[in-house]
């Protein structure tokens, strides 16, 4: 056995180990959500979703259950003059969280967004949104960009998605993974993207909608702009 052969074999072994190491270090989908909780397990595989997927958490509650001192407490106050409908949908994702609720008249949809980045002094949520509903639907996704950022300062965009009635999951492409939202309360879903263009006050959302068994229903892209 020559020294050259031994060196070659050793190099292959080291190379293989490095390759395995690289695979092991593949970050895949984040395991934790913005609030530090473990991401819920996704119950099904989503057809057509190739990237690692992480499930966001969703909870429905009433306005009274949202603490006045919480990030969303002030948000709920915005609709004080109107009768608010239940449920209030609170979502926690990897880099952003949101609350969504509708007025009892079903003509208005309120939302607040929150992220991990720095914010104006004394402000708990980094963004607010309001959409006018026409026959239960929004005419505009009500994009919020500008003040919500990741911990590292990268801009985030939030917008409402209105999935088809038979959709159970909405998946939104992020940088290196897919964030999955479960429908709740019959309300539009406030989703997050890191694909933001501050110069045009816009953001892009790459979305797939899936049935309860994970089957792909539709795939589309939303080019949203701040408006109104």
């Amino acid at each position: 056995m020559s020294d050259r052969f031994v060196i070659r074999v050793a190099a292959m072994v080291v190379g293989s180990l490095l390759t395995i190491g690289c695979d092991t270090n593949d970050p895949g989908a984040p395991m934790t959500l913005m609030n530090g909780s473990r991401a819920p397990e996704l119950p099904v595989d989503l057809e057509g979703v190739a990237s690692p997927a992480v499930s966001t958490s969703v909870a429905t509650s009433s306005i009274g259950e949202i603490g006045a001192g919480s990030a969303f407490g002030a948000c709920a106050k915005r609709a004080q003059g109107e009768r608010r409908s239940v449920p209030v949908v609170v979502r926690v994702g990897v880099t952003g969280e949101s609350v969504t609720f509708r007025t009892e008249s079903r003509r208005g949809l309120y939302g607040c967004d929150n992220s991990q980045g720095s914010r104006e002094e004394g402000r708990r949520a980094c963004g607010v949104a309001f959409g006018q509903l026409s026959e239960g639907r929004l005419e505009d996704p009500r994009l919020n960009v500008g003040a919500c950022t990741t911990k590292g300062g990268e801009p985030l965009g939030f917008a409402w998605v209105q999935p088809v009635p038979n959709a159970t999951f909405v998946a939104v492409e992020q940088d290196g993974y897919v964030e999955v939202y479960r429908t709740a309360g019959g309300l539009p879903i406030r989703v997050t993207t890191d694909d933001v263009e501050i110069d045009r006050s816009g953001a892009t959302f790459r979305i797939t909608e899936h049935a309860e068994d994970g089957g792909l229903i539709q795939q589309y892209r939303v080019e949203a702009s701040v408006a109104g």
Binding site: R78, G81, G108, Y110, E120, R123, G127, V128, A129, F130, Q132, E139, D140, R142, N144, V145, G146, A147, I198, D199, R200, S201, E223, S225, V226, A227, G228
Partner: protein
């Protein structure tokens, strides 16, 4: 004779149908043809009356959802765009885009400096009426409605207009980008008396 009448009827019908089709073709390409993406010019100061002058240049111009580009020819160059469609590329700002530009704000929300945007610079800015109402952005604060001054604003969750002049009866002359059917103009409004509206102020005026 009957055949010529038939031909005439068909011709007239076709003519009007063609005309209707043209009328519905809202894509004026105003933004694509006229607007730019030039960087703003920082300005050391701005007065409230100077800001009113900036706003008046948009008077009688159009309205564009998510828009922010207009000329100064006193007409809407892209009338009757479909509402709530940012892709129509028409002339004008929407209510919040108009306010952003008139208040000479920055795309960076933490930056309270004054930035002069050209009329033909197509920019909307990061604020919606709802966010203005909540006082989002370093330059913006909420203010008591009774204390509002010229070029302060009144904002609801879905609309914002600036006070061009208060009226003696408690109403205000509001300069605003109102909607596709109305364009940008000055109207007498009762926003100050409406519980839906709150006061908003751009800070840092030199006078």
């Amino acid at each position: 004779m009957a055949r010529s009448h038939t031909f005439l009827a068909c011709f007239v019908t076709a003519f009007f149908l063609t005309g209707a089709g043209t009328g519905a073709a809202y894509h004026t390409q105003f933004v694509a043809t006229n607007c730019n993406t030039a960087a703003p010019t920082p300005t050391p100061y701005i007065t409230r009356s100077g800001s009113a002058t900036v706003a008046l240049r948009a008077r009688y111009e159009g309205y564009q959802w998510a828009g922010g580009c207009w000329n100064n020819n006193d007409r809407d160059d892209s009338p009757n765009d479909p509402t709530s469609d940012p892709a129509t590329g028409g002339e004008g700002g929407d209510c919040s885009g108009f306010t952003f530009k008139v208040w000479r704000e920055s795309l960076t929300e933490s930056d309270a400096s004054f930035q002069q945007w050209g009329m033909l610079r197509n920019v909307h800015g990061p604020y919606t009426a709802s966010r203005f109402k909540s006082g989002h952005g370093a330059p913006n604060i909420t203010a008591s409605k009774s204390a509002l001054l010229k070029m302060d604003a009144l904002a609801s969750e879905s609309h914002i207009g600036m006070i061009y002049a208060p009226n003696a009866d408690g109403t205000d002359q509001i300069i605003e980008a109102k909607g596709e059917a109305y364009g940008t103009n000055i109207w007498t409004r009762t926003y100050r008396g409406s519980s839906s509206y709150g006061g908003v102020r751009r800070t840092g005026w030199s006078s």
